[in-house]
């Protein structure tokens, strides 16, 4: 990853009639990184993404992609970016290979379409009509179309929605390989596991504002320093001793199983040292670490919003 910003967004604002979708958004995506926009439904991830792709016109703010203005230089830009939209359709009766072939004819420089179909597991479906594909197959076709022109920046809006675990993993590998070839990826997702695995950095979007930007690990240690340890042992009533462990905040006993909650990077080591110092035999031992999902829920609230 270099320090060169490939996408720059500053003070973006977008309204639909009287609805303010994006209040103010600013962020930068660096060359060669996978950058994720995460946020609850209606937070405006798609709107921000489509403004950056040049599909929507912002009311205010500056956007630059590969040094180009997505509005003025849209045709120049479209040759260098790949786009997968959250909701898209093709002609009902277009065949898979025809779509790939058509897309190939639109760009001067393309990758091998058949190889792409193979990579996305669509070879068996290459002669099928679009309308007969399953949701996940359509999604994979759209990913293929987004990659056909070997783009420098790829935009993926909800890339694995509707995909089964195998396909999801295959797509993750594909996205990682895009980064390995020095390309940049801007994606949105609702799966925090996906964001944690794929993204170098994420921006958390809430009500049309960017409320945090950082690496997933940094966000977790900043917002969720809690650590948990669960174990079971034959010892009864060990609670009093356990409560003396450094950093501990709560102990829950259920028969022979204990759940300890504390905070700080060292909390788990303190627990282990206590157990070994007191020669306590544990039958199982597991740590409960906060994830990006916990950060997400903490920062954006738990309820479903409009």
């Amino acid at each position: 990853m270099s320090e060169r910003p490939v996408v720059q967004v500053s003070d973006l604002r977008k309204t639909y009639g009287s609805t303010v979708a994006v209040e103010s958004a600013s962020f930068e995506v660096l060359e060669g990184e996978i950058f994720g926009l995460i946020g609850p439904n209606g937070a405006s991830k798609t709107t921000i993404m489509e403004c950056v792709e040049g599909i929507r016109r912002p009311d205010r703010g500056l956007i630059s992609v590969l040094g180009l203005d997505p509005h003025k230089d849209i045709y120049k830009l479209q040759h260098r970016i790949g786009v997968q939209l959250q909701e898209a359709q093709l002609q009902k009766r277009i065949k898979v290979w025809e779509a790939v072939d058509l897309w190939s004819s639109l760009y001067p420089h393309t990758v091998d379409g058949e190889a792409l179909l193979e990579q996305l597991g669509l070879t068996a479906k290459r002669g099928s009509w679009f309308m007969t594909l399953s949701g996940g197959q359509k999604q994979r076709l759209f990913i293929a179309l987004a990659l056909i022109n070997d783009p420098e920046v790829v935009f993926l809006d909800e890339l694995t929605t509707g995909l089964d675990p195998q396909a999801r993993r295959a797509i993750w590998a594909l996205v990682t390989s895009i980064r390995e070839r020095g390309k940049t990826v801007l994606l949105t997702t609702h799966l925090m596991e996906e964001a944690e695995r794929l993204c170098d950095r994420v921006a958390i979007i809430e009500h049309g504002r960017v409320i945090e930007i950082d690496t997933p690990q940094a966000l977790v240690s900043k917002h969720c320093p809690e650590r948990g340890v669960v174990f079971s042992c034959d010892l009864r009533d060990a609670g009093a001793g356990l409560r003396r462990i450094e950093g501990i905040e709560a102990v829950t006993e259920e028969g022979t199983s204990y759940r300890l909650e504390g905070r700080g990077e060292d909390f788990v080591s303190h627990v282990m040292r206590f157990l070994s110092d007191n020669e306590i035999q544990v039958r199982d031992f597991r740590t409960v670490m906060p994830t990006l999902e916990d950060v997400f829920l903490k920062l954006t609230g738990h309820g479903i919003r409009d």
Binding site: E53, I55, Y75, Q78, H79, V83, L85, E87, A88, Q89, L90, Q91, K92, R93, I94, E98, D101, L102, W103, S105, L106, Y107, W129, F142
Partner: protein
């Protein structure tokens, strides 16, 4: 650019023929109706004098204009389906420009209109002999020219019609009055003076007048006004549709 246009046109042709009902409706039905009408009404000009002219010797011109109007309506319908279904939005994120997309559909319509009209002329030759002075080449050119200029009206309507449900009524509301005033149903002399002025401002009137002229053996030189009017209509429509085109 040209490569994209040809590729898209070819794909759209294949997609079109994959829907048998569509092909039957566009090509089969008009030919059948025409033949049925021709059999009962045509070939006997002396009896036909009691019929409105459009069912008599002018039937081929009427049929041609009617088919062209039908193509416009289906152009509008298909673009609105693409718009509503988000297909246009997906195409927007590619280097395809709206004019290319519309042109590809126009080429498809043109192809099937040509096929239909050629079939009509072939099948109807017995009932409606072309005036001996008219050259087939000239007639073909006139048909192509008028169809393209009528389809240009479709460009404008197709650029903005929001949903497929509105496509048919809006298209019909614009085109059928044009058709009614065009002189193919009622001759221009039969219209009140005020309406005649309106009719003269409508492109379809000029298309009909040109076709009738060429059909009855007149030369292009006698129809320069119509030709100019249709070219003007084409230029205005294309410029307008580029301005107002909506992707979603």
């Amino acid at each position: 650019m040209l490569r994209s246009l040809l590729k898209l046109t070819w794909v759209e042709i294949k997609i079109f023929v994959r829907e048998p009902m569509g092909v039957l409706g566009t090509v089969g039905i008009p030919v059948l109706i025409f033949l049925a009408l021709g059999k009962t009404l045509g070939g006997a000009p002396e009896d036909a004098s009691e019929l409105p002219t459009f069912l008599g010797p002018q039937l081929p011109v009427f049929a041609a204009v009617f088919i062209a109007v039908g193509s416009v309506l289906s152009l509008v319908a298909i673009i609105s389906i693409y718009r509503e279904g988000g297909i246009l939005k997906r195409l927007r994120a590619t280097p395809l420009r709206p004019q290319i997309i519309l042109s590809a559909h126009v080429l498809v319509k043109l192809l099937f209109t040509t096929v239909t009209i050629a079939l009509l002329l072939l099948a109807g030759r017995r009932f409606f002999p072309v005036a001996p002075e008219a050259s087939l080449f000239s007639l073909g050119l006139a048909l192509l020219f008028t169809t393209v200029s009528i389809l240009a009206i479709g460009f404008v309507i197709a650029s903005v019609v929001p949903t497929a449900r509105f496509a048919q009524p809006i298209g019909s509301a614009i085109l059928y009055p044009m058709l009614a005033l065009s002189g193919v149903l009622v001759s221009a002399e039969g219209l009140p003076a005020g309406w005649r002025v309106v009719a003269n401002l409508l492109p379809l009137t000029h298309a009909v007048s040109l076709l009738q002229g060429i059909w009855t053996g007149a030369g292009w030189g006698d129809h320069l006004i119509e030709v100019a009017a249709l070219i003007l209509n084409f230029v205005i429509c294309i410029a307008l549709s580029a301005k107002i085109f909506r992707w979603e």
